[in-house]
């Protein structure tokens, strides 16, 4: 009698142990690679306003000529050392680090805004 019970139990167990077929989604590889935390991103207007705010903090800046299109050295009357400082201040505002090679390129307010816009880490 107990032998019969054991046999029945074994049969039931093997049936349960059989792997349940899990349907593998077709886009499995994509799902593994996908990041679900998309960055909100900064709007162009927000970046412009914040960059201009940073520049307003510099006393050497000619406030009357301060527009998004102005250049640091010609329009705003900054020397090369202060330009470096402006770029550093922008870095600090957006908590990023701009490499030296790219920091050299930034000579206008617009270039600074564009650089922030294309940097995903900026926030």
């Amino acid at each position: 009698m107990s032998f019969l019970r054991l046999a029945v139990r074994n049969i039931a167990r093997t049936r349960l142990a059989a792997p349940a077929a899990v349907p593998v989604p077709r886009n499995w590889a994509w799902m593994q690679a996908a990041r679900y935390s998309a960055s909100a991103g900064l709007s162009k207007d927000a970046i412009t306003a914040r960059v201009l705010d940073v520049l307003k903090g510099f006393e050497q800046v000619d406030q009357a000529k301060l527009t998004p299109t102005s250049t640091f050295t010609e329009d705003l009357g900054l020397d090369s050392l202060t330009t470096v400082e402006v770029v550093m201040a922008v870095e600090e505002e957006f908590s990023i680090e701009i490499p030296d090679a790219e920091a050299e390129e930034i000579q206008t307010v617009q270039q600074a805004i564009d650089y922030i816009a294309k940097t995903p880490e900026a926030h």
Partner: protein, 97 residues
Amino acid sequence: MAATAPSKQAILNLYGSTLRASRAFSSYNFRQYFVRRTRGVFQEIKDEKDAGKLRAFYDEKTKELEVLKRSAIVNQLYGGWKLVVEKQQPSRERADS
């Protein structure tokens, strides 16, 4: 032997790195001092044309930058509370109090 002057861009890069190292200090007094000092020292040399002097300045400041970086790290390890004059972290309050 005539010393070659470092390029303008090299000096500007050194200026940027030194400022960045100065800002890394965690205590307010050191931070402000080194930022101020860096500004002053580089403003003084701004109109210098003599290649020998520029080279000497550049070499000296490059060495100083290394010292400054190390000091900033040590200072970060032993950073104290923020002073009242500094920008404080926004204070958070419990919702149920």
